[in-house]
């Protein structure tokens, strides 16, 4: 299979509101920075573009219409993936692996501050016949799932709260993060309940922002970049979207196990904890980070909470997780989450992560989840070794 590398990264800062710019202007900024980063490539020389978006979040019925102009992609092969932006990257990667294309851009953005009724929208993602009539608050689903996860694994409520403490602290070193803070785990426990055991600070807040990445075939990558970051493996999977028939998937993130297995197999990784140096993993809710770490075989089931308390996942630990601050510290980018995780791993591997740079960063893992009520996840293993 052909090798694919990341040769350009561009992003805006992530802010809770952005009244001064439209989403198109945000994407333009990210695209310009990305093309500049890739040696000043002209968008005419890019073979194809893949955007990731969902109509309801954009308030446009066919959001795909508004992709090309600000990317410089007019009259080019452009498509949208209605999914997580890491699925968008997988799609861009496959474009190149066919051998028909050499350079492909992937973009995503969030303009969540434009959305006034996000909870209603999440309800609209639930089955219209079996679930929606309950008129449930979407956090109910996360609360139930958290409860089940704690029950099945023996992880504690406090351990979940400590994920928040770690990630918000990490975000203080990230100049573009919106939710950095120095807090104690009691603050999390004492924050208002969303749907017990889930509290307000266990959830990640929305941000606006745009990210554009440039992918290239091996030959092009070596010409375009001094520090190409290789996609070693990628996998994605979907468990059933039906809440009512999801049997084992409540306590256990099956989608993450399947996505991880596929990515590891492709990357030839047998012992993820040893062979991977660090990870950016979905932490939309505090417990999700622990659940995903276990599903991705970074540790065994029920072990993540204890390892966290031992400092195993902190910046100085053996396996740093969410050094950027994750969704809890940086903010929730909706369809853009995947690109954000991916981008943070790329920056670390290039040694360009600034104050948050890790000493040992040769192979990294990115994992993204599509949020409630879905059960879709995407995993990617990235590396700088040839």
């Amino acid at each position: 299979m052909k090798r694919v590398a990341i040769v350009g990264v561009g992003y805006t800062s992530f802010r809770t509101t952005s009244q001064d710019v439209s989403y198109r202007e945000m994407i333009f900024e990210a695209a310009q920075k990305c093309y500049e980063d890739a040696g000043g490539i002209h968008p005419q020389d890019i073979d194809a573009f893949v955007a990731s978006s969902e109509d309801f979040m954009e308030g446009v019925s066919i959001a795909d219409e508004y992709v090309p102009d600000q990317l410089g992609a007019v009259l080019k092969p452009v498509q949208s993936i209605a999914g997580d932006s890491m699925q968008g990257i997988a799609s861009a990667m496959m474009h190149i692996q066919t051998g028909e294309m050499d350079v492909v851009a992937a973009s995503a953005f969030s303009k969540a501050s434009n959305v006034s009724n996000k909870n209603n929208m999440v309800s609209y993602a639930c089955d219209p016949i079996f679930i929606r009539p309950f008129n449930e608050n979407p956090y109910m689903i996360a609360g139930m799932e958290m409860n089940r996860y704690l029950y099945e694994t023996g992880a504690t409520r406090e351990q979940c709260a400590k994920v928040v403490v770690k990630n918000k602290y990490n975000a203080l070193h990230n100049p573009v993060a919106a939710y950095g803070a120095k807090i104690e785990f009691e603050d999390v426990l004492n924050s208002p309940p969303m749907c017990l055991p889930l509290s307000y600070l266990d959830t990640s807040g929305d941000v606006d922002g745009a990210i554009v990445l440039l992918l290239a075939s091996e030959e092009k990558a070596r010409q375009m970049s001094k520090k190409p970051v290789w996609i070693k493996g990628m996998g994605w999977a979907t468990d059933t979207p039906n809440l009512d028939t999801r049997e084992e998937g409540w306590g256990d993130a099956i989608y993450a196990s399947l996505a991880g297995e596929k990515a590891y197999r492709m990357a030839g990784i047998k012992a993820p904890r040893k062979e991977i140096d660090f990870a950016e993993i979905d932490d939309t809710f505090s417990y999700k980070e622990l659940q995903h770490l276990e599903a991705l075989k970074i540790c065994t089931r029920g072990e993540a909470g204890n390892l966290l308390e031992q400092g195993f996942f902190s910046n100085q630990g053996d396996f740093p997780v969410n050094v950027s601050g994750g969704n809890l510290g940086v903010g929730y980018l909706h369809e853009g989450n995947g690109l954000h995780k991916f981008m943070e791993v790329v920056l670390q591997l290039r040694g360009e992560a600034g104050k948050k740079q890790l000493d040992k960063a040769r192979t990294g893992l990115a994992f993204s989840w599509r949020g409630i009520p879905t059960a879709t996840g995407v995993a990617a293993v990235l590396g700088i070794e040839d």
Partner: protein, 385 residues
């Protein structure tokens, strides 16, 4: 590059108001496609599905909701979305799943249930326009297509009768399709005398609103040859998107389609499409669009298309049969599914399994196309046997 074959196809009936949920429609099409080639879900490694606006089905993140209906449970499942062009684009989406070497088999499923939108799905097209510059004018899709139709007819001196002939041809051809929404013949007078929607578009110039789903099964060469002795190969795919500022474009000619078809023809090694292509399934949500697209697909010289139509060139037994399925005008238009219906039609035609609709001779190459967004995007696929 790895060769990718289509080995099975299946579809639901196209119908105005289906009783089935969107998930059930997807299931029916998927089941039919798998049955057609004696495969099971265990044989399927990935799912590439497509559906047009979430608003039609009234479900946010519709791809997630549809996933298990499409056979995507615990599998790599990814939804692609390029507006109305999704149906044929989903084939390209499935093609790169396999051509990349990532998977050996892939299910391509497209579904649309437009009847969930009450009272009429057209209302959701009000929200496709630019929310600052255009939406305050409250334009509808029919208005902008009326502009395009007018510009197209004006440029080449085509008449409303000329356009209506396409509607008559496709609607009457569609009666032969077992999944069609219609069973009554229409005449030229019926089309011309039907209600004016937005001049020059009359009601029968437009395809109907429909519910339905279509699925095809793709496989890498070594699997395809094992599954069937008549695989239909995906010879080339192409897609292209023009600017969102549609008002700045001249609408008489679809440049984006010319580029999309060039990409597909280059990949397929086709140098003279008008001579080499045996069957065309251009996207025909409006009658004029079929002709407009034949020109964009380089299958007919701009300005000469009506002449060819009048000469019977595009009939089922003509030199270049156009929309032998009956197209969207004749079978129905569940947006994304309608495009995949064209893929399925080529599959059946090239294998000689199209029944009453079968074109004569031994067709070798077929091209299908879908179109969408703000008169802005096209996807093209060349299939061959």
């Amino acid at each position: 590059m790895r060769k990718v074959g289509v080995v099975g196809a299946g579809m639901t009936n196209f119908i105005r108001r289906a009783q089935e949920t969107p998930k059930e429609l997807s299931y029916q099409a998927t089941r039919a496609a798998l049955d057609s080639c004696d495969l099971n879900l265990e044989d399927i490694e990935s799912v590439a599905h497509g559906s047009a606006p979430d608003a039609f089905d009234g479900i946010h993140q519709k791809g997630e909701y549809l996933a298990d209906g499409c056979g995507g449970w615990n599998k790599p499942t990814m939804r692609v979305f390029v507006g109305g062009a999704t149906g044929v684009h989903a084939l390209a989406h499935g093609w790169y799943h396999i051509a990349s070497g990532m998977f050996d088999t892939c299910l391509v499923v497209c579904e649309e249930k437009m009847s969930s939108a009450m009272p009429h799905a057209q209302a959701f097209f009000l929200t496709i326009f630019d929310n600052i510059t255009e939406r305050p004018l409250q334009p509808t899709l029919l208005w902008i297509f009326a502009m395009e139709m007018n510009r197209y007819m004006n440029t080449y001196g085509y008449t409303k009768e000329d356009m209506a002939k396409v509607a008559v041809k496709n609607k009457n051809q569609g009666i032969k399709h077992p999944s069609s929404q219609f069973n009554e013949e229409v005449t030229l007078e019926d089309v011309l005398n039907s209600e004016v929607m937005a001049y020059p578009v009359n009601r029968l110039d437009v395809s109907p609103v429909s519910d339905g789903a279509v699925a095809v099964v793709l496989a890498a060469e070594h699997v395809a040859r094992r599954v069937t002795d008549k695989p239909v190969w995906v010879e080339g795919v192409g897609w292209n998107l023009d600017t969102a500022y549609w008002a700045t474009r001249d609408l008489y000619y679809p440049r984006y389609l010319e580029k999309a078809s060039k990409m597909a023809y280059d990949m397929a090694g086709i140098t003279e499409p008008a001579k080499q292509i045996d069957i065309a399934e251009p996207y025909d949500p409006f009658d004029y669009k079929a002709l407009h697209h034949m020109e964009g697909l380089q299958l007919s010289p701009p300005g000469k298309t009506v002449e060819l139509l009048n000469d019977g060139h595009f009939d089922q037994d003509g030199n270049l049969p156009m929309c032998p399925s009956g197209g969207l005008l004749g079978v129905g238009n569940p947006i994304a599914a309608a495009g995949t219906m064209k893929v399925a039609e080529l599959f059946w035609q090239l294998r000689g399994e199209a029944g009453e609709r079968q074109v004569p001779g031994k067709p070798k190459y077929g091209v299908c196309q879908a179109w969408g967004d703000l008169m802005q995007v096209s996807s093209v696929a060349v299939l061959g046997i």
